[in-house]
């Protein structure tokens, strides 16, 4: 055990957890990383490519090495950073990326073969022989790639999403963030304070600085107490703001219950969309390391992280309490780790600093030089220190490395703002053109001393509120340290041997040299060629060091070299939380028809039609194939009477003195002349002249029409009609509203439909004289229920559609079936509906596919020449007007053959290519009426080719059918049935 005293953990509350099957004890307030360190565990994983033993590098979300798999079974979660995993009782963790036990990884042979695996080796090695790629190389690479493995099981946890709005979003709860939140909170505005950590305070928890002569943690506690008491402040710990989007919108993930044992049904994470009028980015800074040979051994960590483990988590970085610690730093801040560790009783033997003028702050040996090699296969045992050309090996149980600090500019750059180089800070700081309303404060903008962080945070809040016209008072800030840490631009140790730059992707200085040799010099090329800065950590600890090496090689300055583009997310976001809480059948909402329950009771099989669930066919006892059901339903309609819910068709109420004129302009055919109490078929064109929707239009009174649309286009037609009303013809006095859901509409079709309806209407005269084909009326049914009746037919039979308030739809359907039993009343679904409309040659979605014109549909004469309407002018242009394809019908010459929709049509004996293509089959079905497969489709000069036999070719399935061109009206071509 290397647990120290103090810190901000609860020493009284022990938490048991297992790592690679072994049980350990941690403390409440620990992360998995701090708990492992406190148990003397340095080796926590294997590296990506070379399978090098690795330990904890950092104390935050920038961690490249300490990636573990948490939990098990379906809850198994790979690639989790131990450094941000809040410890809980019963936590189960395993290391990753090794074959065999962690300390004896078989794949470590890769390390010996490292010369073969230099960057770019994929591109060079796996080129030949070509045939090997799919069979050998790719499976091999896929097997080797990645770190953790997915469980392959469905995620059992619940996720949620939500939306928050605030005046000020403060991102980061360290010194700057707390000062900003406090200033804004006291001003009474709506504040959200989010931090990825489970405890607010940021570096204040990790340092020994005093505020007003007291430990900084006391100030944090007091501030948090005040903020918690403010109604207008929402505290969001464990919440990572991962992306800055347009107009002050931020994406954030709150880890609601990742820190407790999973309970069924409890929300694990919530995805928040935060709309903030202003934001303060106080994301702090990330320490960078110094590449030197063999700098990746377990026990080598960032000096600031080492300090955080000692101060906040009371954990020593060594395996044994007596192991000596050495610090290698190019700046004063690294020395602070030495003094803090010494104060905790950790034996720090030396600080190695390349600066000639390096100061000494405590009782340790100061060596002016560098660390240039290390030993200790599974954990650091010694380091080689070189001073004035003299090298010596020094025993060392843990090495803290500091190469300076990089402001966390990420979110400030999500809108492509380029960070700018600050020569004094030796770091990139946020540049111009930040996301709307964002001010960066504290270490994230290079204001890294405690005093500066506090002040800049407060000032950022005051400025943010001033921009909103709110005057916020400046708050009293505690006295704090304001000593800037001196540093030097010392980027890496040039010695023979592999010096890691990017630990996670196993990218070394040599790889960058190679990239330079291969002319992969621009940073974006460097990244993709070497994989530097990719994967879970996105190079947070490595990018700047790599840029410095590349700058050195190219002889350019760092600012000239530039950075890669920062994109969301800041840290990894699980796909589950992006998917949200609604999965499976709840992934998208379902619309049910008003007669759904009755349909289900009648044995309906349902089919998805857009969001709708519609009855497809009704299986009766003894039917073993869907075709039996459909054929029966079709014949029942043609011989007796059928019932079908057609509520899904869009219904738009059009009212006003100019309604008739408006509809004239919407439909290509004349609609304004429609008589009251009559219905007319209408075709709508797009402005480019192609047909896009059709339906009926009923005139209920002089100034009141009801337009029906196809099911699929209901929303689109409404949108387009509103466009016409508001944008094209605002002078027309007309109003529109959708009324699709208000009415349950049932098609009553077949020779017995009139008789059936006469049994439910309240004394309404249904005779052909009074209520002929294409009549409509408002009436009452079943003893006073308001209804609308339309005599329209999709099936070609005598037919009606009756509409009643939706809540009565189910009961009306039931009633019609009941009172029509002796007439053969039969429910039918979309499948029979489709068969009958093909038999009748009616166009539907397959014919109105956006590529066809009124002429092709043989409706060319409908496009009125007497008026302007949407699409009319363009429909007359040459290319469309001369299109000779026409909608015709087809029958197989051999009645036993089936025509397949989508088949292309060719003249017999003609070679088949795109130039000889004669058209295509749009819809096909088995017609029980005809007794064979039938189809409709578009054929060149089709109307002039009746009786000709053409080929319907289906090259996808290697089939073809000889088909005869016939009229598309297979049933009652004269239309006598629907008019009688």
């Amino acid at each position: 055990m290397t647990r120290l005293t103090g810190g901000v953990i609860d020493h009284e509350t022990a938490l048991r957890f297992t790592f690679n099957g072994k049980t350990y004890s941690g403390r409440k307030g620990d992360t998995l990383a701090s708990a492992l360190l406190a148990n003397g565990v340095q080796l926590v994983g294997r590296s990506f490519k070379y399978h090098r033993p690795r330990g904890v590098l950092s104390a935050g979300s920038e961690e490249p090495n300490a990636l573990v798999t948490l939990r098990g079974g379906a809850r198994e979660e790979p690639n989790t950073r131990a450094t941000v995993t809040e410890l809980f009782d019963g936590l189960v963790a395993r290391s990753q990326n090794h074959v065999g036990p962690l300390h004896r990884d078989v794949m470590a042979v890769n390390d010996l073969l490292s010369p073969l695996f230099a960057s770019g080796f994929y591109y060079k090695t796996f080129m030949w022989p070509r045939a090997f790629w799919e069979k050998l190389y790719e499976p091999l690479i896929r097997h080797a790639a990645g770190l953790g493995r997915l469980s392959g099981e469905a995620d059992p946890d619940a996720y949620d999403k939500g939306f928050l709005h605030c005046d000020l979003l403060v991102i980061g709860g360290g010194a700057a963030g707390l000062a900003a939140a406090l200033a804004a909170g006291r001003a009474g505005v709506k504040v959200i304070l989010a931090d990825e950590d489970f405890q607010f305070g940021g570096r204040l928890l990790a340092e020994t600085h005093q505020l007003d002569g007291m430990p900084a943690t006391s100030w944090v506690t007091a501030v948090m107490a005040e903020l918690s008491g403010l109604e207008n402040v929402r505290l969001m710990p464990r919440t990572t703001v991962f992306g800055a989007y347009d107009h002050g919108i931020y994406g954030a993930v709150e880890r609601v219950s990742d820190h407790v044992s999973a309970a069924d049904g409890e929300v694990r994470q919530t995805l928040w969309r935060i709309t903030a009028k202003r934001s303060v980015l106080a994301a702090g800074a990330t320490e960078r390391h110094i590449p030197f040979p063999n700098n990746d051994r377990p026990g080598i960590m960032l000096a600031g992280a080492m300090r955080a483990y000692a101060n906040r988590w009371a954990a020593s970085p060594t395996r044994h309490p007596s192991d000596p610690v050495i610090i290698f730093t190019n700046n004063d801040d690294g020395h602070r780790t030495a003094t803090d560790l010494l104060a905790k009783g950790v034996p720090v033997t030396a600080v190695v600093d390349p600066r000639d003028d390096a100061p000494t702050f405590g009782a340790y040996e100061l060596i002016t030089g560098v660390v240039d090699d290390t030993k200790g296969r599974l954990g650091l045992t010694s380091v080689r220190v070189t001073q004035n050309g003299q090298s010596r090996w020094m025993p060392c149980g843990a090495l803290g490395v500091s190469g300076g600090w990089n402001p966390n500019v990420h979110l400030s750059s999500h809108h492509r703002s380029k960070p700018v180089w600050d020569e004094a800070l030796l770091a990139f700081v946020p540049g111009k053109d930040l996301p709307n309303g964002m001010i960066v404060a504290g270490a994230a903008v290079g204001q890294g001393t405690t005093a500066k962080a506090l002040r800049s945070g407060m000032e950022a809040a005051v400025s943010s509120l001033a921009a909103l016209g709110i005057s916020a008072e400046r708050i009293d800030l505690p006295d704090a340290d304001d000593t800037a840490a001196a540093q030097t631009a010392f980027w890496h140790v040039s010695r023979k041997g592999r010096a890691w730059v990017d630990f996670q992707n196993d990218v070394t200085v040599k790889d960058i040299v190679l990239a330079h040799q291969e002319n992969m010099r621009p940073v974006e090329h460097l990244k993709r060629w070497t994989t530097l800065g990719m994967a879970t950590d996105q190079g947070k600890t490595s990018n700047i060091s790599a840029l410095a090496v590349m700058a050195e090689l190219t002889g350019k300055s760092l600012p000239e070299t530039g950075t890669t583009i920062f994109r969301p997310p800041y840290t990894g976001v699980t796909l589950s939380v992006l998917g949200g809480g609604d999965t499976g059948k709840h992934f998208r909402p379902t619309r049910y028809t008003p007669t759904h329950q009755w349909s289900a009771s009648q044995g309906a099989t349902f089919v998805e039609v857009g969001a709708w669930l519609r009855a497809q066919y009704f299986v009766q006892p003894g039917e073993t194939h869907w075709r039996q059901s459909v054929d029966r339903e079709v014949l029942a309609v043609r011989r007796g009477v059928g019932l079908c819910d057609v509520t899904t068709l869009g219904k738009i109420d059009v009212q006003g003195p100019d309604a008739a004129e408006f509809l004239n302009r919407i439909y290509c055919n004349m609609m304004g002349t429609l008589a009251v109490g009559r219905v007319r078929y209408g075709l709508m064109l797009r402005e480019d002249g192609h047909a896009y929707d059709d339906g009926t239009c009923a005139r209920l009174s002089e100034n009141h029409f009801v337009v029906t649309t196809t099911t699929a286009n209901a929303a689109l037609v409404y949108r387009n009609m509103e466009f016409a009303r508001q944008c094209l013809w605002p002078d027309l006095n007309v109003s529109l509203i959708s009324t699709t859901d208000a009415w349950a509409q049932i098609a009553v079709a077949g020779p017995n439909s009139r008789t059936l309806l006469s049994r439910v209407v309240d004394g309404f005269d249904l005779s052909n004289e009074v209520f002929p084909f294409m009549a409509c009326a408002e009436l009452t049914v079943c003893g006073g229920l308001r209804a609308r009746l339309f005599r329209i037919s999709f099936s070609g039979e005598l037919a009606y559609e009756i509409a009643v308030p939706a809540r009565y739809g189910n009961a009306l359907m039931e009633r019609l079936a009941q009172v029509g039993a002796d007439l053969g009343a039969t429910p039918y679904g979309t499948e029979a509906l489709g068969v009958m409309r093909i038999e009748k040659g009616h166009a539907a979605g397959s014919e109105l596919n956006g590529q066809t014109t009124a002429q092709m549909l043989s409706l060319g004469r409908m496009v009125s020449e007497k008026k302007d309407s949407i699409g009319a002018v363009m429909s007359r242009r040459e290319g469309l007007a001369q299109d000779k394809r026409r909608l015709v019908g087809f029958r197989p010459v051999d009645k036993s053959e089936a025509i397949v929709a989508g088949s292309h049509l060719f003249t017999q004996g003609e070679t088949r290519n795109t130039t000889t293509d004669q058209g295509w089959i749009t819809s096909a079905a088995y017609s029980p009426h005809v007794g064979s497969s039938i189809a409709i489709g578009f054929l060149e000069e089709g109307d002039a080719r009746m009786g000709e036999v053409v080929i319907a070719a289906n090259p996808l399935e290697g089939r073809e059918v000889r088909v005869e061109v016939v009229s598309p009206h297979f049933v009652d071509p004269e239309g006598g049935r629907l008019r009688d």
Partner: protein, 95 residues
């Protein structure tokens, strides 16, 4: 993005459906002799500026108003938003 709806204030762009260039408001006169050419331009030829663009948005999950939104396509800055409805009685209270 947030769209500053002239009646309803800032509303999330997710409530809106996008159509395109506001020149679609200027539908040509079908009776003019050059109607064919004018409609060809109207339907197919649009400017696609990198910069300030007047465009049409429909508040589908809202009050069903068509808006003309002036937006800088490079920065997404929204300079103006107005109701496209421009009737003779536009000056009346729309509420």
């Amino acid at each position: 993005m947030l769209i500053p709806h002239p009646l309803l204030g800032l509303r999330d762009a997710q409530e809106f459906t996008y159509l395109g260039d506001a020149s679609l408001l200027n539908r040509p006169d079908a009776s003019s002799p050059d109607a064919a050419v004018a409609f060809y331009d109207y339907v197919y030829l649009r400017d696609n500026p990198a910069g300030v663009h007047r465009e049409l948005w429909f508040h589908e999950q809202g009050d069903r108003s068509w808006l003309i939104v002036t937006r800088n396509t490079l920065t997404h800055e929204i300079l103006n938003a107005e109701l496209a409805f421009k009737s003779a009685v536009k000056s009346e209270v729309l509420a």
